[in-house]
Amino acid sequence: MADPDRATGLPIACAGIAIERNGTRILHGVDLTIVRGTCTLILGPNGSGKSTLLRVLHGLLTPSAGTITWGGAPTRPGGHAMVFQRAVLLRRSAAANIRYALDLAGVRGAEADARIDDALGEVGLRPLAARSARVLSGGEQQRLALARAWALRPEALFLDEPTASLDPKASRAVEEIVRGIHARGTTIVMTTHNLAQAKRLARDVVFLQEGRLVEQSPAHEFFNAPRTTEAAAFLEGERL
């Protein structure tokens, strides 16, 4: 379960968030709240601002306008983690990659050893602990990235299309891991293009289009009876 000592960064509240880059508006006045324990999938066509919004929520991007708070505070908390579309792993062993993250979080010694072993076991990579991370397969690398995130015991985990470049089997393995992490109490916020995957994982859906938040609703409502014509069209595949 999430580390209670680091559980200070929820809910995440966005008000009027806008992002502008080189004169182009990527997000327009997004109002959004991420509450503890949810599994929120951010959906939308290409270029709708999903990944940008995810980076704002994780504190990697500072909005051009609007406010964001984590647990009521304006500074990004330490107890959140993110996994990117393409796993970014250091040129060292799988175990050392996790140790690096733990070291930065101040977790060392026997506690770090235990978390590394637990995290690698969680994603089925214990036999590859000593293998260099960058020579693992794409699916293994993404599982290792998840293990690294999970070892931090984050209260919120952000996933930016974590299965976009994986085959169906590896994608399902990643989904299972995400489901397991969520079941242990970690709040999940994830972007995906894969509607079937979204249906399997989502409790809540945030639908973006052209940088605007068009719809936010419980997953079953969104998929069965979308409230907006844009979302309905997206689900029908017209905007994919």
Binding site: L60, G78, F84, V88, L90
Partner: protein
Amino acid sequence: MNTFSDSLSLAAGLVTHFDPKLVEIVLLSLRVSLTATVLSACIGLPIGAAIAVGRFSGRQALTVVLNALMGLPPVVVGLVVYLLLSRAGPLGMFGILFTPTAMIVAQTILITPIIAALSRQIVADAWGEYREQLLSLGAPTRVAVLTLLWDTRFSLAIVLLAGFGRAIAEVGAVMIVGGNIDGVTRVMTTTIALETSKGDLPLALALGLVLIALVLIVNALAQYTRDWARVRYG
């Protein structure tokens, strides 16, 4: 038998019999260039990494200057170091002109921009790849820089080998600040220049052979390092 084959035969004899004079010159060359490379690494790697990761005004201009300094003419470096270290110069009190130390200083000035500029590019590429992940993990800038330097260590090792290759093959600067004094500051390149002008080709050729062998070894090492790292670490 013509002069070239005669000289080549004599040169091969000097190399295979480890001629003491030849060995002394080779060892001094290695000591000077290896020390200069280590010093340049200590100066150039942090500078390159700081420019790659840092965000400050004048960064682009600094990069341009650094890249331009890669082409520093060795004789100009030699002249400047000579003026600095000569008795009347601002650093004349150290009395190191015409010593191996002066040659190390000159070579360090010559190859530091090479190491800094090439390492800047390598670290900048890695920063582009790692930036978001390291920020996500909460890595402070100092830790991020050290991480990038460590993760690009094999590419940076090749940069250092390139710097060493430039230093050991350089003649103009060490000739000016070293003075090419027999038994004191005579290195391979300056000896080759001197012996050739005197018409004593065997020693010049023998040193030329050693120099070429060293350059080959350095390049083979760079190639091997690159290939090994790719297989081992991806």
